[in-house]
Amino acid sequence: MRLEEELAEAMRAQVEGIHAPSVMGAVVRHRHRVRKVRVRTAGVVLATVTVAVVMPAGRQIGSGLAVNLEARPGSASTQEATSTQGAASTQGDMSVRVDTSGKVEVPTVIDLTRERAKAVLKAAGFKAVVLKDLRHGWVTRQVPDGGQLVPAGSTVSLVLAAEPVPVPTVPNSLLSTLAPAEKGSEPTLRDPGDGREFGGVRFGYLPKDLIWTRSTTGVASGEDGSIFWRESGLPSDRYSVRAVVFQRKTTLRFKTAGVRDAVVTYEVGAAPTILWAPRPDLMVQVELSVEYAAKLTKADYATKLGKDVKADKDSYADYAAKFGKAVIGRELRKIANAITATE
């Protein structure tokens, strides 16, 4: 088979089983409406400011509107919510969907300011709780998500940040809250010296024969720095193990009681990764390259069964499917367990 065809086949396998959800059209229209509302709201604010300049009484019109939105009790029923929306001209397009079991659709408030988000939620009959906030922030995350059907009067939790915070991609179930980056906090990363110390942590254990390749710092995408190690035989642009140190308070609040609770992702075709927080404000992500992970599994197979991988490929594939995850997980946990904070 030609490489082009093999590539197409690999791509096909990669996206196999990924289908667009059937609600895509509805979601797109909803987003479109929310955006229009936002633009219109900005227009209203502008208009109010203009009036205020020309005629001081205009300010009262502006604050009157705000009070109207703010003063709704959290327990407002859906009925009331609808009438509130009629009154509040800025929300004309946000309709509330109620299904037969009395559940109500949660409005999407991502990207709104704290005040607007609370007003929108209250108007729809929800209680809003702000979990994290920086002043003048925007909502970056809400639980439950917009569009979900929940009992009327439920509480919606909001996380706000001064600017959109990149979210490390881990399973949603583990992602409770994400603290926003503190203003003015600069990554304080140093060069690794002996190749073991980096970004305020020390890697007490690394698999044998790894050499320090390079480190990068201060990338704009939220991670604070990466350090790479490679096996001595590899060219210098490749790596076998990589660690990312998140030093700002962008730490996941998952259980950090022990390295057993650390998150390990192991999926075919992706680099196996462990996320581990030695301290609540310090998170380290260690990942093995796909090839290095395969190599570890092969070595384990050879030691345990005393057989060469090439001698019996099917038996190895079987072994890898059954025990690969455990072998790689053990190694990742070993590395994570030996990570200590140096500052």
Binding site: V15, E16, G17, A20, V28, V268, A270, A271
Partner: protein, 166 residues
């Protein structure tokens, strides 16, 4: 928008969104959730201009928006993309080709994002060189050289990989 336009948009979404999702996943290696978000974002832009573009090859326009957004997303998230580039765990069926395929995808992922986009468009979407050039906003010559270079790089690395293994 008239009801007819709305209906046409719905049909377009039903027919094309899965393919757009696939392109997004392949180009930027986003998680499924991110890819859906990206495609929704693209579709919203299309919806906004639906009246104008619906009779003028909306498919090509949509693909262009998705590829551009995917390239941008990839650039923003370069370092964490590898964990998210994963197949659903239930496809863990062992077959002799699996390892080769994973290695291929691994090499594809290592390419610069625009080069990868060219390969995805040429060999996954099956676009011609001219179509790819229009979409990427570059010359046919660039498409040719990027595709050739991308394939050569994969071939070379797969070669060394085999060498290391053997």
């Amino acid at each position: 928008m008239t009801d007819e336009d709305e209906k046409a948009f719905d049909e377009f979404v039903a027919a094309r969104s899965t393919a757009l999702l696939h392109t997004a996943v392949l180009v930027c290696g986003a998680s499924r959730h991110d890819a859906e978000d990206l495609v929704q974002n693209a579709l919203e832009r299309i919806y906004r201009h639906w009246g104008r573009i619906q009779h003028d090859n909306p498919e090509a326009y949509a693909r262009k928006v998705v590829v551009n957004l995917a390239i941008n997303l990839y650039r923003r998230r370069r370092v964490i993309q590898e964990i998210t580039f994963a197949r659903p765990p239930d496809t863990l069926v062992h077959s002799p080709n699996l390892e080769l395929r994973d290695a291929l995808l691994g090499e594809l992922r290592r390419l610069p994002v625009r080069m990868r986009a060219v390969l995805v468009l040429r060999y996954w979407e099956d676009l011609s060189e001219a179509e790819t050039a229009t979409l990427m906003g570059c010359s046919v010559g660039t498409v040719k050289s990027q595709a050739a270079r991308g394939l050569a790089r994969i071939r070379e690395r797969m070669g060394t990989l085999e060498g290391v293994r053997g």
